[in-house]
Symmetry: none
């Protein structure tokens, strides 16, 4: 019997081709399949269109052993999945009288007659296995031809999810490759995508020929780079161990720029360091406008270590609230390392915290100058042992500058707290 | 010349075949294409896999006139879109020396050497038109064969979006079917999706039979409901006028719960009201942890009207920073209308602003009680004329409570400033 090792996911529904709806079912389907070691090779969305649907299923059956279709199983004219897939597989449809009765009783249980159009949902391709739907009137179908499998599931997540879970514990598990795919997300900040790639590229060759090979993908997003690793093995524990070893390789190659080896966001990493070291933090923000504090307080339990924060846009408020000398602002400018340091120190003094952050910069679009263009941000962090400051030049629009500055500020705290 | 009337969208990247990432770029691409009257016939996601990518592009070119590919244009080994698409179209690649220099200068502007691997991004298929990327190192490409067009765009939304907007105002508009689909997003807060639907349902029938019919979709998201209207016509001005009339119908039916008729976010609506009325605002936040201020300061120019903000988690800081009487906290609890009002008033006094916000609540997951469960939030807003306060009960996790509370606080400011 052909093992199902590669799958394609096909979502059917014209609404998912509009500017406001995505096929989110595919995430759940992917998770369930990956868990069985079945890899998703491609995903597709087509409208309620017989021709496009037939071509998509035909193409998929030429590429993979398993096609999971979601949606288009309803009773109305635009629900064409059942008929089109049967046609592609060369199967004829026949009414399943027992199923008609089940659908009819679903309606009568609610005191309703079954609309005649719902009879369509009882049309089953000859040779198909019916997948019961406990939460709706559209049953699913398991169809097979020449060792390839097509599974049809209804679109609503509350109907689809229990049906697919049932398959994952039965026929899909039995027909799968008997493998597990495990994943790990390593997060990096302070170096570019290319510099990350240069640092880890040498590892790829070793990983590719390891007893349990590791696949890697690098993804850049604002203020950080993600390295996604995955391993597949018959033994999930062995795959986890191989991933742990690969993660250690990456940490050795990249060093302190790795801030998380388990996908945790930076604010959570910083929060855990503060808790472990019994420290509280206070934040004085200018250009980030509260974002640094908001990220810190996204973490459950952060009220225990976020002491206080202020947003001080104006020079006067920097002086009156944080005690930054007016003469210092006059001499160095509000966006300068001395002012950032004075903000952090003033914030720490007034909040009585051990750690404090000072951020002052130009988020734009206005306020830049040739010497200090938009994106110039001075950040200082003070801890019980040390004060450190730095001027950054970020690119991009206002929200991008805000995010990158908050990322750099949190990262400075992390590095200081991780120093031996 | 072939008119581009049907399109396919292809997202390239193995990460989008994992259980945690979706191709969200396709929503923006669809919106831009629809606006030009170009219909999206199918969408697909493939991994960083030469074979799958080649087959997908070939299949799409047999089905539609326009293929928009996103992602896979980076400098690393797994970025294969450029090469594979050139191969499918039978074009050879050559290094564009001017582009290499532009990429090099992007790095040197940040004081970095260009990694050699970035040179790959300057490999351009002969005959292709380069689409400049103002926000990243990967340029886009416009490729043509036999009247069919393939557009390659980088994956990061901040790079892709301005590039596609540029095409929509130039070559894509010129090559499109000459129809306009115009859309309008009406944003509503303070009523549910069903209550919105009940209020506007009666309008649907009129819109459907109007000379320029209006299509409507209701979408609920956290703390708000969006009503998306669209009209298609050869004359964009006539379509805009029809939409404007429909928007007026909605405003009449829903009243003050409509906060924006042009898609503007709430923080921008509030910012404009403050500017128009010459007022400044200060914010005292507890459970929202800086989010309310961060949203206010997302708006360009907000430094002119955001006077000051503090984040006061602890009772002591509410007393020491805002002058909330300890006895009041003792009597009513920190999460109460009197404390929210005292926070707002204390904040206004110390910041010298005209308007102030006080937010105090329980974001969770800990800290709830039977009388004040997680999600209980007291909000007060004080203006030159009035003070108003209210207790809300929000549902959902910590980040959801934070967002809904910030939304409610900003909306209270909006409603007070809009009162006659």
């Amino acid at each position: 019997m052909t093992r199902l090792s590669r799958a394609a996911i096909l979502a059917v529904g014209s609404e998912m081709l509009t500017p406001s709806r995505l096929d989110t079912n595919s995430l759940f389907v992917t998770e369930q399949l990956n868990r069985l070691g079945i890899e998703v090779a491609l995903k597709m969305v087509v409208g309620d269109d017989r021709d496009e649907l037939a071509r998509a299923v035909t193409m998929m059956l030429s590429r993979v052993e398993l096609v999971v279709c979601t949606g288009g199983l309803g009773p109305t004219d635009d629900d064409v999945t059942r008929e089109v897939v049967a046609e592609v597989l060369g199967l004829t449809l026949a009414e399943d009288a027992a199923m008609t009765e089940r659908i009819r009783s679903r309606f009568s249980n609610r005191g309703l007659p079954m609309p005649e159009i719902n009879r369509r949902q009882a049309m089953v391709p000859v040779g198909a296995t019916v997948i019961e739907n406990a939460h709706g009137s559209a049953p699913g179908l398991w169809l097979e031809r020449a060792g390839r499998v097509v599974v049809l599931l209804p679109g609503p997540p509350r109907e689809l999810q229990p049906m697919l879970r049932g398959l994952s514990e039965g026929p899909l598990r039995d027909r799968g490759p008997g493998l597990s795919i495990v994943r790990r997300v390593i997060r990096i900040t302070g170096r570019s995508e290319s510099h990350t790639e240069e640092a880890v590229r040498g590892l790829y060759a070793d990983w590719a020929v390891a007893p349990i090979p590791i696949a890697a993908t690098i993804l850049a997003s604002l203020g950080q780079v993600e390295l996604q690793l995955s391993a597949r093995a018959t033994d999930a524990g062995a795959a986890e161990a191989a991933l742990a070893a690969a993660t250690a390789d990456v940490s050795a190659a990249i060093g302190a720029d790795v801030y998380s080896t388990d996908g945790r966001p930076l604010e959570e990493v910083v929060g855990r360091l503060l808790v472990e070291q019994g420290l509280t933090v206070a934040v004085a923000e200018s250009c980030t406008g509260g974002l640094t504090t908001s990220r810190l307080t996204d973490v459950p339990g952060s009220s225990r270590y976020v002491a206080q924060a202020v947003v001080t846009y104006s020079n006067e408020s920097k002086t009156s609230l944080l005690g930054v000398p007016a003469a210092m602002i006059e001499e160095h400018g509000a966006v300068s390392e001395p002012v950032a340091r004075a903000m952090a120190q003033g914030m720490r003094d007034r909040a009585g915290s051990e750690v404090a952050i000072g951020v002052t910069g130009i988020a734009g679009p206005d306020g830049g100058s040739p010497a200090k263009p938009v994106g110039t941000v001075a950040i200082a962090v003070v801890t019980p042992h040390v004060i450190r400051s730095r001027v950054f030049r970020f690119t991009g629009g206002r929200d991008m500058v805000k995010f990158q500055a908050s990322q750099a500020a949190l990262d400075m705290v992390r590095r200081l707290l991780q120093e031996p």
